[in-house]
Symmetry: C2
Subunit: 392 residues, 2 copies
Amino acid sequence: MTVQTSSADFRRAIFLAGKVVGRRSAIPILSMIRCHANGSFEATGTDLDMTLTAKVAREPGADADFCMQAPQQVIAAIAAAGGKTVSMKTNGGKLRVSSDALDVTVDTVPSDDFPMEHLRPIQEQFSATFSAGDIAALARVAGAMSSEETRYYLNGVRLKSIGATTIQAQATDGHRLYLCDIQLPDAKGKLGDNVIIPRKAIRLLIELSKSAQNGVSLTIGTPAAANRLEGTAPEQPGASRLRFSFADRSAEVCFTSKLIDTSHYPDVERVIPAGGDKQALFKVADLRRALAAVSGHSREIRATKIAFGADGVATVSAAYLGIGLAASIKVACDHSARDLTIGFNGGYLSSILNAARGDEVLFTMTDLAAPVLVRNPADTAWTGVLMPMRVD
Amino acid sequence: MTVQTSSADFRRAIFLAGKVVGRRSAIPILSMIRCHANGSFEATGTDLDMTLTAKVAREPGADADFCMQAPQQVIAAIAAAGGKTVSMKTNGGKLRVSSDALDVTVDTVPSDDFPMEHLRPIQEQFSATFSAGDIAALARVAGAMSSEETRYYLNGVRLKSIGATTIQAQATDGHRLYLCDIQLPDAKGKLGDNVIIPRKAIRLLIELSKSAQNGVSLTIGTPAAANRLEGTAPEQPGASRLRFSFADRSAEVCFTSKLIDTSHYPDVERVIPAGGDKQALFKVADLRRALAAVSGHSREIRATKIAFGADGVATVSAAYLGIGLAASIKVACDHSARDLTIGFNGGYLSSILNAARGDEVLFTMTDLAAPVLVRNPADTAWTGVLMPMRVD
């Protein structure tokens, strides 16, 4: 059998499927891409937690089914050779991919061994279409995801229902908390209490959906019962799968991921400080320049101090004992926090400015030890909470 | 005392002097920049093997002399703050650098401790002006410098006199040899036999001189006798110092480096193969695309085979046993080497195409084990020699 596609389509499909494939896997088949050709050409990659299938057009021809070794290298070679079309042919454990004057031969194995569990239909509990703006809202909270292994349930973004067609995306690492409300007019079904999308899935959703043409449709649910295996583990309540699909210029993409299995996600409502009586309004560009000047050059933990002095001005400073350097800069700031000096992790401060967006940022503080509420006055959908840190 | 300069000039001078400062030095003063202000502002950095001084304009004011800690961090902070001018003031072991709303304080030490041995005048043996084209010629051979520690004398570019105003730049790592003739109409004096410019000095010369406005003046010689210290080591014959200086838009740069102290540099004339009877002429773009397709995706040693088959065509191929991949591509090639199959390190092949420049490259071969002569038919100044490697 021979399968023919355009070179660009082939490379796009393999590239997308390769996105979920781990760098080095002890199980050889997990470093391969499953290729399935019938009416179209489908490439599937998996790391057992996530699976991505990308479907592109093919020339009419016989069906085929094989797994391709070294997918990144194959598409790099094909891109470099510059041919217009690609033809694939398997022959006794070898796959030959030809494009113009180039022939690439790689190992192949039967696709029966490829783990396809994620491709089962999902018994839908919640579905909605995310626009580009809704994905951007996820990106605005993703910066606060934890990467700490002990509290694994913080390593993702939680989606929580806060109205019939409104959900809230939440992320926290214990030092900061970002929330963003998202309107989903076509939301259907009920979002359970413990829908936490893992970090890698969120990153991929944000990255890949940039090229989505008509929004991203998201489904949350449980895998539909197939030929049920008898097991001793109790049936799990609640959703355990996330699937999103979208179409870009040439490929139809379907991505499935496990959700983080937990009931420990903190009740973040209780963390949001109320009643802070000291406010400070910065121009984001000014504060960002000040942070870059006092701490942008360092890769160490950047303890950064903000001292509110006379009306209309704040002093941002940082000290690096290791290299004997201290820097301070004055920034215009409309504040009611005279004589307060408060310390932050400078990296978190930079991150929160990116997440808040907009031209201005408003800090609401109580004292130098209490959590600080961070808002963008022009945008009420997003909320940030930042813990101060003790600085000298 | 206060020293004032423009922010751009200050950052340029510190940046240039910082180029020779090592990342981590056990001797604290070697990580500092010596600043000297009299009629102008001079910044000097050294790693004991090389010293660079950059001189820029300053506002009139008193003389000053100090060493600045953490120079890269200071200029990063000043660049981020965005001020137009910089003023420096020392006060009891601290240097305060101010620019607009920013104040940076760093440790400073007296500049008496700064090693200034390289700044002594040079007793000139050879001098010449290198144009941008002459520097480019050095860059064309620099790719073949060794980085192996055992034959330290190969870790640089040798300059050899081959006529009254013509020198040849030579570099080899034992696997390949690049030569380039350079005309220097204003050359004065005699270039000794063992002028080998170390790798780091060549890289800096190529990088920094990109902004030189009227060529780079190069001096080779020995340090002039200062207050001579009595020593038991015998006086060394031959040159031991290289100095180059140039002016860019705002700074005057003077760079001094030790030469590699050796009399072991190989007589490369003997390595250039004569009498190869098999020739192959490639279009550089075609061969480069073929190399990218068969081996560009790999970071491993890229054993690449070229098989000369029927007239007018060659097959370039490579195999990667670890990932079970083999790739081959046909390339148009005007050759007289029918039935010869020869292997090369693919990385070296790519490098030699860059060094040869031009649209076409001519390989002159004897057999699969003898060194190959590589020429650019349109440019006789440059010569390359490449050792083949055994490929399965």
